[in-house]
């Protein structure tokens, strides 16, 4: 599969990354310039001057109030991408305009719409409310991945790899040995993969953060809305504990592990990760432990996937992979992404 799903929302940044300063990030091969206006809104427009393509995020380009001045010849654009000044003449060419990207700041993320702006419907952006909820505490980060985004989708849709790649952190023998259930809502565009381990070893990631020792019930429920947002609803509880019929679950610890999988180029990806928990709220020691542990896990994936990208780059075309039962969710994701990549 090549290319990116277009007419889709992608996470471009955390809101906390965008200040009143020029900020550039490439999404789906498109370099985008951001800044936060004096009024607090996030702008998004192409990071290329219409004149000679000079990147507007590149010094000596600079932000003056809410206008960006190109550092090459001085073309000046307002927060809406309209050119308001060109050098040496008063007439501003009609085509001197940067087409702004639809942008929405939601659930701590800055989302941009890649494709036809007329098709941008903010109601279609999947939600991750825990990341900003007062009854959760969140740690987060972003790691650059030198691999195509589909490799990260494969990785996250099949968590049996935790047993082998992340042993000592989140991997235990039960993850790879417990059967999964896969559901796909073809209309809503959701892939859901459940692995409920009712009597499992507690990995250090959870024993040190929750205080639970020995055997636990560990539920992993993946909810992926292609192309970008991935959520792992993780439930950790004493063996034998189940949620009440009314949905309350007082004996359990809940962790929402959220990834935003944003293609940068055909062979590189922005790997946004966040871990939100409903226990030890505000406990800085637990936050530091979970942040460090999850980043370590993410980097273990990054190393493996970077190697895979190199393997793919050096192999002849037509290599035939082998897929087994654990790949049921990953294959569903590939097929849905494939359909999203098809021209409308």
């Amino acid at each position: 599969m090549t290319g990116f799903p277009r007419d889709q929302w992608y996470v471009a940044a955390y809101g906390s990354e965008i200040e009143h300063d020029l900020f550039s990030r490439t999404v789906c091969g498109e370099p985008i310039l951001f800044w936060r206006t004096r009024g607090g809104a996030v702008t998004a427009m192409p990071d290329r001057c219409v004149h000679r393509r000079f990147p507007l995020s590149q010094a000596p380009s600079r932000l003056v109030d809410d206008q960006v001045v190109c550092g090459y010849h001085g073309f000046t654009y307002d927060a809406g991408g309209r050119c308001v000044a060109v050098p040496g003449q008063t007439r501003i060419p009609r085509t001197a305009r940067l087409l702004p990207y639809p942008v929405v700041e939601q659930d701590s993320f800055v989302w941009v719409f890649i494709g036809d702006p007329e098709k941008a419907d903010a109601a279609r952006i999947p939600r991750a409310p825990w990341l900003v909820a007062p009854d959760y505490t969140t740690v987060c980060g972003m790691e650059p991945l030198q691999a195509r985004y589909s490799l990260l989708v494969d990785n996250l849709l099949d968590l049996s790899h935790e047993t082998y790649l992340h042993g000592g952190y989140i991997g235990t023998p039960e993850v790879a040995s417990t059967p999964i259930t896969t559901e796909v809502d073809e209309d809503a565009g959701i892939i859901y993969v459940s692995r409920h381990m009712d009597d499992a070893e507690c990995p250090p990631f959870y024993s040190k953060s929750t205080g639970l020792e020995g055997r636990i019930a560990r539920w992993q429920d993946i909810e992926y809305t292609p192309p970008c947002l991935y959520k792992l609803h993780s439930r950790i509880a004493p063996v034998g504990s189940t949620p009440n019929p009314d949905g309350t679950d007082p004996d359990a610890f809940h962790v929402e592990v959220v990834y935003a999988i944003t293609p940068e180029t055909e062979t590189s990806t922005h790997d946004f990760w966040a871990v939100a928990r409903d226990f030890a709220l505000g406990d800085e020691e637990v936050s530091a432990f979970l942040a460090e542990s999850n980043r370590t896990v993410v980097l273990q994936d990054v190393v493996a996937l970077n190697v895979l990208e190199q393997v793919i780059a050096s192999e002849p075309e037509g290599y035939q992979e082998l897929s087994i039962n654990i790949d049921t969710g990953g294959l569903a994701a590939r097929r849905m992404l494939g359909r999203l990549c098809e021209p409308a």
Partner: protein, 52 residues
């Protein structure tokens, strides 16, 4: 227990105690498979081959 409740949901269950997968189409057709590749070929071919 089903997590997704839409009208067009395909489901795959790992048959307990076996290495087989049971596919259930949103049209209620069911079939068992030994691997996920053929399984998705069949599910996504709906309605072809999905007679009750």
């Amino acid at each position: 227990m089903n997590a997704l409740t839409g009208e067009r949901v395909n489901r795959v269950h790992w048959v307990p105690g076996t290495d087989r997968l049971r596919a259930t189409c949103h049209c209620a057709a069911e079939r068992e498979f030994e691997g996920p590749v053929e399984l998705w070929d069949w599910l996504l071919a709906h309605p072809a081959g999905h007679t009750p």
